[in-house]
């Protein structure tokens, strides 16, 4: 079977080799992703080195593949807003436009793989020459369920403390060697925050605090792991939310808002703007913006001038931080032709080959060869958060992660949005999550 296919393709290719510019076959690959739409800026760019940020780099990589591939494959991208992405992806299974390549978080993979909605990729990777041994073990594990490989791991991302060195210096928190002093206990976090506010008049912490992305829930989850508690059990049946550890972590976060050390009014772009405008000392965000902020600080156009990154500190004892992972999957589609499948695989291989470029965003690479490379080591700020790769703790592969997460941040954010007590918030969270977990099979 394999032989005849290869022969057939060879014959086809030979037959067409004379005609200028025509491809062996022409396949449109539909590509579904978030990461934003920056067609106006990068629509025609194919030089990856000129791209910055997640949107820029993935757009340019796509353009480059389209321009340079020799099999006549064309990637057609559909971008979806992050919040609506999985709604859209799920809908495609019913509405007949199942994408050929799609991005997926490792935390969400089980929902799809358990329902047999993804194409197993192990054999295809081998055929395409993707070396799975090069992936760090954790990444490979995340992409595998029930011993079947369903995804191409692409990055590991985690929470970070993005620091405005100048403001921290003003507050007296910068050591002689230029590194920044960060709190190592909840009490210290609050006392440093108060001191910061007194000395600089600005917010100590900036973070997305409104209703759509739950940044603080991720911080809270990190604090739970730091105390040795798993928020979600590995079997996906129980959650440990309303516990003394949960209470301690929630109290700290609530206190930050109550004492005016963090601004409740910020949504995601607002938090970024506040940080770039020099209105906050520390921005709680992730690895995906390191390159962006670096470029902005260097450009001189932002108020932020001296920018550094730090691992989320072991405020509650252990060095653990929330992490997730981006992967590329091939949703199952009976109507996909072999040409389309091959083209999609070629695209995936291309993305894998360019993993380093993606790592330029700030995300941690999942390929050992990239991590060990000198180019990677030379990327700005990476040394400042190299420990994050080890501290990264992912949520267990459990179903309905999104619903769980949405339920969590709805109830959690109430602590500062509506003044709910931490006890009430945690109790509500526990109830909501339990209700969802009851449906996990």
């Amino acid at each position: 079977m394999h032989h005849s296919k290869t022969l057939a393709r060879l014959a086809l290719a030979t037959a067409l080799v004379g005609s200028a510019g025509s491809a062996a076959f022409s396949a449109d690959i539909s590509f579904l992703r978030f990461f934003g739409d920056c067609q106006t800026e990068y629509g025609t760019v194919t030089d990856v080195a000129a791209a910055n940020g997640e949107c820029g780099i993935i757009t340019v990589l796509t353009n480059k593949f389209n321009a340079e591939n020799t099999i006549g494959a064309k990637v057609v991208t559909q971008t979806v807003d992050w919040g609506a992405y999985y709604d859209q992806l799920t809908a495609t299974y019913s509405t007949g436009n199942i994408p050929d390549v799609a991005v997926m978080h490792s935390s969400v993979l089980p929902n799809f793989s358990d329902r047999d909605l993804l194409t197993p990729l192990g054999d295809a990777f081998a055929a395409a020459g993707i070396d799975t041994a090069d992936f760090v073990p954790a990444a490979l594990k995340n992409a595998t369920t029930k011993d079947t490989l369903y995804a191409l791991p692409y990055d590991l991302h985690a929470l970070l403390f993005h620091v405005n060195t100048d403001l921290m210096k003003e507050a007296g928190f910068v050591n002689d060697d230029g590194t920044v002093r960060l709190p190592t206990s909840p009490e210290e976090m609050l006392s440093m925050g108060r001191e910061f506010k007194e000395k600089t008049g600005k917010y100590f912490i900036a973070a997305e605090s409104q209703s759509s992305e739950g940044m603080m829930v991720r911080l809270w989850q990190s604090f739970m792991w730091q105390q040795g508690v798993d928020v979600l059990a590995a079997d996906g049946k129980t959650a440990s939310i309303n516990t003394p550890e949960g209470q301690k972590a929630a109290d700290l976060i609530k206190a930050l808002y109550d004492e005016g050390l963090a601004n409740t009014a910020l949504d995601y772009p607002g938090a970024e703007q506040a940080f770039l405008n020099g209105e906050a000392g520390i921005l709680i965000n992730g690895t995906w913006v390191v390159d962006s902020y670096n470029a902005q600080a260097a450009s001189g156009e932002a108020t932020l001038k001296n920018y550094q990154v730090a691992n989320v500190p072991p405020i509650f004892g252990a060095s653990k931080v929330w992490a997730d992972s981006h992967m590329w999957v091939m949703p199952k589609d009976e109507s996909r032709t072999p040409e389309e499948a091959e083209a999609a695989m070629a695209f995936m291989k291309f993305l894998n080959d360019n993993n380093f470029q993606w790592a330029r965003t700030g995300h941690l690479s999942v390929r050992q060869s990239v991590i060990d490379s000198p180019e990677f080591a030379a990327l700005p700020h990476r040394g400042e958060y190299s420990a994050t790769a080890e501290n990264a703790t992912a949520l267990p592969a459990v179903q309905n992660q999104r619903a769980i997460f949405a339920a969590m941040y709805s109830d959690f954010n109430a602590m500062w949005l509506t003044g709910t007590s931490s006890a009430d918030a945690l109790s509500a969270m526990q109830d909501s999550v339990d209700q969802i977990l009851r449906r996990n099979r």
Partner: protein, 295 residues
């Protein structure tokens, strides 16, 4: 109302031909789905992956104990209470103000109806910007006065009134048109008589105008209740149900449950509950209206 009496011709064959298109579409796209929806609500049915399991009334039982569901019911009722009276009143006041001949009034009528013509996503775009805490319309005003701008859409108590405000701006056109039509039907003689008596303006309003249009008021209220119960777009796009579920409405919960959490069976059960609730309210309203007529 009908002058010609009921002189209809007996013509079953022709009637069938005339009715067939409507009945066919009606049966396939309204009647059948309604029953299918009830059927789905009796299952644990997933959006993707083909999992279907008959569970009887378990979804309804879950619904009864679902705290978030009752929260959305409360929010929806609150929203209806907030918008229906104000919308009706505003539409009436505007209709009274712009009723009558003249170029100016004609332009005014267009202005107030214009906002109804936009899509919900245009309205939410406009109002999300207007109400934004750092880029909003009134921010320069707050800044000049030294007041910290309020984050309307993120504020626990102000979020829903903000959505109500946007909804008012968007929706007043149709009720206003209904009132205008009704005002136009009031016989002139009634006003002329009042003029002869030198009746003060307000008495005219109270004794002549309002009673004459009371059927329209009832119609507007019923239509508004039906409409506002179904609120989805504004909430989905402006607040996503936040902050902390303060603005989460029933339809939004149905959408999230079905299309985000894949629980189509549970979502169907919720949709049925919404249907029953709306039906009950409309019936109540109509019954009250009829009682008012008899009074």
């Amino acid at each position: 109302m009908t002058r010609a009496g009921s002189s209809v011709t007996r013509a079953p064959g022709t009637a069938f031909l005339f009715l067939a298109p409507f009945l066919a579409v009606y049966a396939v796209f309204l009647v059948y789905p309604l029953f299918k929806g009830i059927w789905i609500s009796l299952h644990d049915w997933e959006l993707a992956g083909g999992y279907r399991e008959y569970i009887g009334f378990l979804n309804y039982e879950d619904l009864w104990f679902d705290k978030l569901f009752w929260r959305t019911v409360r929010n929806t009722l609150l929203f209806v209470a907030m918008t229906v009276p104000t919308m009706t009143l505003l539409a009436l006041v505007l209709a009274l103000a712009v009723h009558g001949p003249g170029r100016v009034k004609s332009v005014l009528r267009s202005v107030f109806f214009l906002s109804s013509v936009f899509s919900v996503s245009v309205v939410t775009l406009i109002w999300s910007m207007v109400l934004s805490a750092d880029q909003g319309l009134l921010v320069p005003l707050w800044d000049a006065m030294g007041i910290k701008p309020i984050n309307f859409l993120g504020h626990p108590t102000l979020a829903m009134p903000s959505i109500a405000l946007a909804t008012l701006w968007w929706g007043v056109g149709l009720p206003m048109a209904l009132f205008l039509a009704a005002l136009g039907q009031i016989p002139q003689e009634l006003y002329e008589a009042a003029e002869l008596d030198h009746a003060p303006r307000f008495t005219v309003l109270r004794r002549i105008t309002l009673p004459s249009i009371r059927h329209t008021v009832l119609l507007v209220v019923v239509l508004q209740i039906i409409g506002q119960f179904q609120i989805f777009g504004q909430v989905h796009l402006m607040t996503q149900g936040g902050p902390a579920n303060r603005t989460r409405t029933m339809v939004q919960y149905i959408y999230d449950t079905g299309f985000r959490d894949w629980q189509v069976g549970y979502a169907s059960a919720m949709a049925m509950a919404l249907f029953v609730l709306m039906f009950g309210f409309s019936m109540l309203q109509l019954w009250l209206g009829r009682k008012g007529d008899e009074a």
